[in-house]
């Protein structure tokens, strides 16, 4: 899985002003529907929050990978957001999060889901990539770091 296929500059935002977990999910769902108007914002938000309630997607080192299944979605899409300040996120290492790599997944695409997570993990386990994302001053630099 080439994760570049699911990343889009239009669905990436750098250093958003945000101080709460709830607000970051709203921002992610706003970005998603702006670029894909066929999506329903309430459904996207509900799906992300429902997954989060089952356990935090904060996987450690200031990174979270929120995700949700969306009925009727044809292709998986990623929404990438960094926050200007780290946000309390109940992450596995209890550290606040400032990199949010969200994915919206079509229902019943289990294999692709696992492949996407693996591709994302490969990028985010590279300390140089994570450093470049954190020090990015605009969204172009975030997308370039992940390319």
């Amino acid at each position: 899985m080439i994760i570049n296929d699911i990343i889009s500059l239009d669905r990436t935002q750098c250093s958003v002003k945000c101080q709460s977990k709830k607000r970051i999910f709203e921002i992610i769902s706003e970005i998603a529907i702006e670029q894909s108007p066929e999506l329903d914002q309430v459904e996207v938000l509900t799906s992300l929050l429902a997954r989060e309630r089952m356990g935090s997607t904060g996987i450690g080192h200031g990174i979270a990978i929120p995700h949700g299944k969306i009925e009727g979605l044809t292709n998986m899409i990623a929404v990438i957001v960094t926050s200007d300040c780290p946000i309390e996120f109940d992450a596995i290492d209890s550290q606040p999060v400032d990199i949010f790599f969200a994915i919206l997944v079509p229902e019943e695409q289990t294999d692709k889901h696992i492949q996407a997570l693996s591709g994302i993990a490969r990028k985010l386990s590279d300390k140089n990539i994570v450093k470049a994302i954190r020090s990015a001053s605009n969204k172009n630099e975030i997308v370039a770091a992940l390319a």
Binding site: R51, I59, I92, D111, I114, L117, I120, A121, L124, S125
Partner: protein, 90 residues
């Protein structure tokens, strides 16, 4: 003490984010070094990112290796978590 065992991932979603997180939380509760190996690739069981990189989907075989004080207990607990489909209702 070093113990290892090969088990099959049987839950529908495989080692996805929530399953990997549970595995890390469980692994962190033991006083030993735990590695998961799938084919040529291995991952420390204390890293969600490393576990996700294994791309362990349903039906894949993984070798669990535990090395340390409570290695056998750790191995048994992890085997049970995987056999119980990471406690996911399917």
């Amino acid at each position: 003490m070093l113990v290892s065992k090969t088990v099959t991932i049987i839950n529908k979603l495989g080692l996805h984010a929530r399953a990997a997180t549970k595995l890390v939380q469980l692994s962190n509760s033991f006083d030993c070094d735990i590695q998961l190996k799938q084919g040529e690739q291995s991952a420390p069981a204390n890293s969600v990112l490393a576990l996700l990189m294994l791309e362990s989907s349903q039906g894949k075989q993984v070798e669990i290796s535990c090395n340390g004080n409570d290695a056998q207990t750790a191995l048994d607990s992890i085997e049970e978590l995987i056999a119980n489909r990471f406690d996911e209702g399917e």
